[in-house]
């Protein structure tokens, strides 16, 4: 495949002698072909041009969730985003502002996990098992959750007041499905002004999710479960419980 040179603008952190930090966009020329991803381009820049460029990456196939970035202002995984799909002009790459910034494109994802359900399992039943018969050695076919904890949904969410956020709420609903015995305890934890009720239904989260979790759907279903359980308990339904 033939390579063409493309301009990639990357957020860099300048650190002055006195330790003060500033952000700027720096342009690099990168050879790309039709398969070259934004992550490939960053790997090229680090290995050939800027050994100190900071960015997160691990699996290179959209399973670890470490390489979430703003690519031409859209929330994307760098490893699954081909340069040619983004634009035939300049491609601009910036760090996710909703994580704790480290430097350049690298972030600490700790804020993402702050409101996740405690002790949540990361395994679910595999849907393929409906027609398949597992070997007698195991009870069922299982697989990892779809959510790769990349934080793109949280970054895309327009809600600015305090909010547990789409990733955590989707994780709550998945945990209720995986472990129905925890339902009441978990529903109580999301039944808060900054929980399931803070969603404005913009649906950005479902649009940007790279693994098809559809967090907005889970939040709507949590709200419905809350309303159902409150009406069946004779309590008030609605906001601000």
């Amino acid at each position: 495949m033939s390579n063409v040179q493309r301009e990639i603008r990357v957020q860099r952190t300048r650190i002055a002698e006195d330790g003060s930090r500033s952000q700027e966009l720096v342009s690099y020329q990168v050879p790309v072909n039709k398969r070259t991803t934004v992550l490939d381009a960053l790997e090229y820049i680090r290995s050939e041009l800027e050994p100190d460029l900071l960015y997160r990456h691990s699996c290179h196939h959209g399973s670890c969730g470490t390489c979430g970035m703003l690519i031409n202002n859209a929330q994307k995984l760098a490893c699954l985003t081909a340069i040619e799909e983004v634009s035939d002009d300049v491609v601009e790459v910036r760090a996710l502002s909703t994580m704790n910034h480290i430097a350049d494109l690298a972030v600490d994802p700790a804020p993402l996990f702050a409101d996740f359900p405690r002790h949540a399992t990361y395994l679910r039943e595999s849907e393929a098992s409906r027609e398949a018969v597992p070997p007698e050695e195991i009870e069922r076919f299982s697989r990892f959750e779809d959510c790769i904890e990349c934080g793109l949904c949280v970054n895309s969410c327009p809600v600015t007041r305090r909010f547990m956020g789409p990733a955590a709420l989707a994780a709550y609903r998945r945990e209720i499905i995986n472990r129905p015995e925890r339902r009441d305890e978990l529903l109580a934890e999301v039944d808060q002004e900054h929980g399931a009720w803070a969603c404005d239904r913009a649906l950005n989260c479902s649009r940007v999710c790279p693994t098809g979790v559809y967090p907005a759907k889970h939040i709507a279903l949590l709200q419905r479960e809350l309303e159902d359980s409150e009406s069946s308990a004779g309590g008030k339904s609605g906001e601000g419980a």
Partner: protein
């Protein structure tokens, strides 16, 4: 409790398991990784949890260790494993002839391999080719290549290990023929500092030769990249392997709603910027389709390369070099005290590798502390990013 300070270079699976084992045995441990954790080779693994069946004919001891570690990982880190077992499928008459030797070798290695009929196998995996001739069931599985090491890192961190990503080692300090520490640069602040250590462990995989050179030690090692391809859709639930001697394109590893095919292998001198050969992608999909025909029409989700470290230096065929785990005490090989290099091994046996290296560390420093990592459940991967252990 020992006050010895051990510095680990490299934040891959080996470094993760080392940090955990070291702090459990009372050492102070500090780990430096130049980029994000597991961003070198570990995270790019196809994720096969090896029962050892694949290695049984070639090396019983490696196979036995894989089986032991599979059992242990299922106990200490069940949340990072899709424990769905695996099927070895014979495609040719030659494979059928090989099958008795394969099953016997598995059993000698303690792997509970079980013959299943083709009909039974296709009930377990309706996507298997009707052309398959024989099938053997083994306890393979799928690892989350990011979250399993992160569970080790999380547990190590909460027990006191210091883990520094984005902090390359820029020099190895030596005094009187002895390694006494490292110089690092924290790229978050761009500041350089010196860190003293009673022992430095080089766990940088395919980069170990470059790191050893910082201590003026020659470590013959060949970086060997291989291509992996992920297609959209979970075409199978179980790991599917071609029942023959290990070769290219003979493993299908399902994970989430993806199916990954591995792998090819070539050698390089430079592990940093490896391009994925376009021909490998079509080759891998074609090989996988022999076992699971749906690969023929599957959409490619991602194609990437991961670089294994092969012990020894060679410009010829990489398969001649050992895939075994190497633990080199540079006091013995190079007359340099206080410096150990660990390379190779498999993701499945990361805990066992760490146990052996920490055993050596204890012997060298005169410490008597038993390894407890085989019995100790690991914290959640999320605990790595949280101050609370309960995540």
């Amino acid at each position: 409790m020992s006050k010895y300070h051990i510095v680990i270079i490299g934040g891959g699976g080996t470094g993760a398991a080392l940090a955990h084992d070291l702090v459990q045995r009372g050492f102070r441990a500090t780990l430096f990784e130049r980029g994000e954790l597991t961003s070198g080779t570990t995270g790019r693994h196809h994720g096969q949890l090896h029962s050892g069946a694949r290695y049984a004919v070639g090396d019983r001891e490696i196979a036995r260790e894989c089986m032991d570690e599979t059992r242990i990982l299922r106990t200490i880190a069940p949340e990072s494993i899709e424990s769905n077992y695996g099927l070895f499928v014979a495609l040719t008459d030659e494979d059928v002839e090989f099958e008795p030797q394969f099953v016997a070798a598995c059993r000698e290695a303690g792997i509970p391999a079980r013959r299943v009929s083709v009909a039974e196998a296709r009930q377990m995996e309706p996507g298997l080719s009707p052309e398959i001739k024989k099938v053997v069931l083994v306890p393979d599985g799928t690892i989350d290549a990011w979250r399993l090491p992160l569970q080790f890192f999380a547990t190590a961190k909460h027990a006191g290990a210091a883990v520094h990503s984005f902090t390359p080692v820029t020099g190895i300090l030596r005094s009187n023929g002895m390694v006494t520490g490292v110089e690092v640069q924290d790229l978050r602040t761009r500041k350089r500092t010196q860190v003293h250590a009673d022992l430095v462990i080089n766990a940088t995989g395919a980069w170990a030769g470059k790191v050893a050179a910082l201590a003026d030690v020659d470590l013959p090692l060949t970086p060997a990249p291989g291509t992996l391809v992920a297609v959209k859709d979970r075409l199978v639930n179980m790991v599917i392997s071609h029942l023959h001697m290990p070769g290219d394109g003979d493993i299908v590893v399902p994970q989430r709603r993806l199916s990954i095919v591995g792998t090819t292998q070539w050698t390089t001198r430079e592990p940093d910027l490896v391009r994925t050969p376009e021909d490998d992608i079509s080759y891998l999909l074609r090989e996988a389709a022999r076992m699971v025909p749906a690969f023929e029409n599957a959409r490619v989700h991602a194609a990437w390369a991961a670089v294994r470290p092969l012990a020894g230096s060679s410009d010829s065929d990489a398969r001649e070099l050992s895939r075994d785990f190497q633990c080199i005490d540079h006091a013995v090989t190079d007359g340099v005290e206080g410096f150990i290099s660990v390379t190779g091994g498999k993701a499945t046996v990361l805990r066992a590798m760490a146990e052996k290296v920490v055993n050596l560390t204890c012997r060298k420093l005169g410490i008597n502390a038993a390894c407890r990592t085989a019995e100790m459940p690991l914290l959640s991967h999320r605990a790595y990013f949280s101050l609370s252990e309960a995540s």
